[in-house]
Symmetry: D2
Subunit: 365 residues, 4 copies
């Protein structure tokens, strides 16, 4: 809705820079009576946490979430229960090395927002990317961990489906494999390919892009809205807000441009249980902006990390030409850690639409 807030009834406002004392979010509009533990939140935080493998940044942050408001402790002393008031969550920045960035305080790193921040604001927190650091996404994951609990039965999962030119074999898709490798890969056969490929890129100080797929199951049919605030529109918007994302698609996505109406439309039948079902899911679970009840399928493309060791031509804030290399501890493929972030954004979007639909139509409980 506004610069650092998204959602209408389930609203998330994030704040914080990479090298300040802390970052966090305020989740407003969360229904009362939702029960969770800090350990549950931490489970999701740990998936996004840096320093977990050689394929992600070696910065080490514990990413411990403190819940400062909006909850009451249950009798067991461990379970927290939401009260319906805003939930403030805070994550301290513990492993900051501002000196790494000192020499580029006035230089514009290619592919980064350095230049555009300076043009817009005339001032910029250069330390670690400041507000535009991917560290901001920790707050999204924290918010998403609550959003997952808003819609009964909904399950939101993500997987990496492409790194550079290497795509998974979709026939091998196995959700249970996602946790068995450092890539969130659902295809075990791609893992050694990516390991070798990415090790090579990392050694060169280079980086590479990726594509992530998010699948949400048990999304109630009927949530969404027809024209603006379409469910797919809001998913696209929220995924596009993740750092480095350059493209988003739903269901067949760009592939839909290449096929005929006969191939693309999903036919329907009545099942033995008397309920309607679809014979395919080209639509990615959304028709006319409204959920069909099938799995919601979204993909997004993440560009290669802009921080690379190769020397690049740029300019500085004084208008002088410079050549610069971005030191620091960076992800060779920032797309990997984008998987839990994408899940969080889809979970928040679905929670918001669920509450809005319940509001307007009174259909859901």
């Amino acid at each position: 809705m506004s610069h650092n807030t998204f959602g209408q009834l389930f609203r998330v406002t994030t704040w914080g820079e990479s090298h300040g004392p802390a970052l966090g979010c305020v989740v407003d509009g969360c229904p009362p009576g939702i029960r969770f533990t800090l350990a549950e939140i931490q489970h999701w935080m740990d998936l996004r946490k840096p320093g977990q493998s050689s394929f992600v940044t070696q910065r080490r942050e514990d990413d411990i979430v403190k819940v400062l408001s909006g909850v009451m402790a249950d009798a067991d002393g461990e379970t927290l229960v939401t009260t319906g008031t805003p939930i403030s969550m805070l994550i301290e920045n513990t492993d900051q090395r501002s000196k790494d960035y000192g020499e580029i305080a006035r230089q514009y790193r290619p592919g980064h927002a350095d230049y555009t921040y300076d043009v817009k604001y005339g001032i910029r927190d250069y330390r670690g990317g400041g507000r535009s650091s991917a560290r901001e996404t920790a707050a999204r994951v924290a918010a998403g961990s609550l959003a997952r609990k808003v819609v009964p039965g909904v399950v939101v999962r993500g997987a990496l489906v492409q790194i550079g030119i290497h795509k998974i074999n979709r026939d091998n898709w196995d959700w249970s494999e996602v946790g068995n490798n450092p890539f969130f890969a659902p295809d075990p056969e791609i893992v050694p390919v990516w390991e070798e490929y990415l090790s090579d890129i990392r050694k060169k100080g280079s980086s590479i892009g990726a594509v992530i797929e998010i699948v949400a199951e048990n999304v109630p049919a009927g949530i969404g809205a027809p024209i603006y605030a379409k469910l797919d529109q809001d998913i696209a918007s929220n995924l596009m807000s993740i750092n480095a994302v350059k493209g988003v698609e739903i269901g067949n996505g760009f592939g839909a441009a290449e096929i005929t109406g006969e191939e693309n439309a999903d036919e329907m039948r009545i099942g033995n249980d008397g309920k309607p079902y679809f014979l395919s899911n080209h639509a990615g679970g959304i028709l006319g902006g409204i959920a069909t009840g099938q799995p919601v399928v979204a993909r997004f493309a993440v560009k290669p990390t802009s921080s690379i060791l190769t020397e690049r031509r740029s300019i500085d804030a004084d208008g002088k030409e410079v050549e610069l290399r971005t030191k620091g501890r960076h992800d060779p493929c920032v797309g990997i850690r984008a998987v839990p972030v994408g899940e969080a954004m889809v979970a928040c979007t679905i929670a918001d639409h669920y509450l809005r639909d319940r509001g307007q139509t009174g259909r859901l409980k």
Copy 2:
């Protein structure tokens, strides 16, 4: 942002169904003192208007825009000047043939929103797709015609770059060709290919998807916002709200997933005029959600028209299985008429961010 409104300072609310008496929009927050003529609006309306070639629907609508509020007539009696109050625009529906749709009033057309509307609302205006008809986009084009005038110097143009499997040759790109063929094709060599291809599809009663590219030039560097309400996010969101759109990308888009950081980042230099410039535009004119000053480049994929003459399996509102064909007058490639709509959505997004940036930073005039 809300169900039928988009934008924050330059806000557009649309209303109306395909077969009601009229449809329209309210443009709120438009700056005062903007001068325009009805003929200028009509120019953009005519580009989207049905019945212009054999490749689009044969429904005939004049799409005459009436401006009901928010303007004063200038001394010349022809120029209208905005006063800063909401501008209500109305377009009458003149060529409705509700009887065409009678027999599918209770049947769910595959690929359409019929089923999801019924699940959500329990009631549905089945005539011509009702609210989810692409006729709603006429109101967007009307709003966009004003949005184009908000940012001094900005030019927003669109072109069709792919129909089905046939893509343009980008080396042939010539903006002046776009108006010379019924496809908004910037490549004259693709025109006969598409003509034959699409004629064949039309004769079969089938349909096909397409990809549209929108380019906005002279977008002031610095507009946008860093985290949520990114310029690319809002462009993606607003393009995704167009009927039948299944994917959106900015700059390199999904292609960015396949390349390295060295290949993707845009280097900078200082020109002879002392001003910074970029050596490439992989970013599509946006870094960290903020405009770089380069052309903003967005593409979106439109699925094939779901209304086809081939018999398809579906169900009806009574839970019975049916086979149905969608009669009526449909676009074989709805992507064609999406070109001016995409332009309008990008123009509105840029106008909105321009006003917001001017508000927060006071930088622009």
Copy 3:
């Protein structure tokens, strides 16, 4: 929420000037399945309509509401049923006499928004007050007529309780009297007093202020929100948006400043039916921003009509001092016709909070 829209889930956007071709509103987010007739809307419109007695403006407008979208006709051909899509309502301006205003096109009428519009926008529709004409409130009444149907059982009524220095005797309060006099007075004894008082003011070409009280019954306990978007806050906000309103109070209002905690707080007991009830309603039906289930009671003060026949000192757009009298056909007490407008605003606020509460808590159906 934004300049010409109010409400979050039940959103009303109004547009139109006094002397343009028409004015109207778009009601977005209205639940589907609400049934109404045009005659029902007209009932509320007629209460606000000008020309009904010698105590209101003699301008004659039929104020016929056309519903352009968002509804389907029921089988009876008369009842309209909302479909959940935006409802566009239009009211034509039929009795415009722009020439009445010609000579004050560049003069700033004291108490009017002429000067401030010119400062803000640099352009102003001077005809009949343009956008700031009380004619805009016709659109609110139209929207309110739908809002009244959103919350089951809710009844919103208003009455005039004070004109100038003459207040009603609250002991005489009888809702059934409100329709029996041209003042919406609930106290029959005040009617002759006001008649004489207001006739005198009208003959002098003067005007006078008033206070209106709105009472909403059967408001579900629990709607509202604790801190911002309080039910009383949103009622105050929406009443304050009515032309010429200078003060708003809830329950005891300003009177609460003069009494002790013992006198002001409403005690509770359990009724014979096992349900809680309050022994008094000093709070006006709202505690901590949330409805108690008691009647919601709000009052608002309307300043005297600024258009008077007495010559007043002012300036014009060229910075010259002028003396001016406001001709035209004006209400000697604009507070009278504000009664149905106040009802409409309270009805819309309650409908919105009802849907929002249903969304966040899932409590209501």
Copy 4:
């Protein structure tokens, strides 16, 4: 705009309960380049701080504000400069005595939001009023301290003008006296009257209401908006969101109901400097929702503190009738500490409208 956020371009989101670890706010949309020190913020915090005299609660909180994001330290090491990104401010709760409230955990205190919270949410943080504690207003004062710096030259001041039946003598108004007494009284002669009156009320364990007046000077003419989002509407809305406020008025307010158009309208002349000026300010600095450039004058009524020592009849969460007295450390006149809170809310509203006007019209710098 939404439950715990207010403002459109200058947006404040508050969070936190009375007895949690902390409370705070996120200020989003603040312009970049605003310079402030923590000492400046603390100046305003201290005015609202409890424990300052025998006439306010004896709870002791230092109310130290930590700024966690959105700023860079200037070279002097003390001045902070806003960067345009969201500013998170946190205030720890240090003097909590939850045991004071233990016995009323399930009882509904008359005049409090206990009952309505339980109805709405089914769960309630009973400790010290939870979210509805006036402690939440500390976050508003912190946000307001930044808002004061957004509009060049604007000065927002407040004063207590009435406690119970004792009003100040407006002829004695002297802003320099406001800081010389524990009441924010602008009339030194009222101070001994209020001291005696309030001491008596405090000794009885009772409480009393009050009226506060806020005056904003140097508000740029032209900010505001004509119909919804009027400047007076948004001031009324934001003042009404303060705990215990039951009425709001602008300029003549309810007094405008009692006078004629001749008496109420403010005439204009041209000054020797060639600039327009008003001969009076009955309008309270706002015409048609837009600032005239005169001082903006708003008043609001605060009800007596509901927490009193007198035994009152009520019920508990089990539906049983109880008699209860509210122990704890309470303000006998919560209106006193509402003065800096009212100032903060008006300052935030003006800052927001300033940015919005600059956005839409480009008039301001």
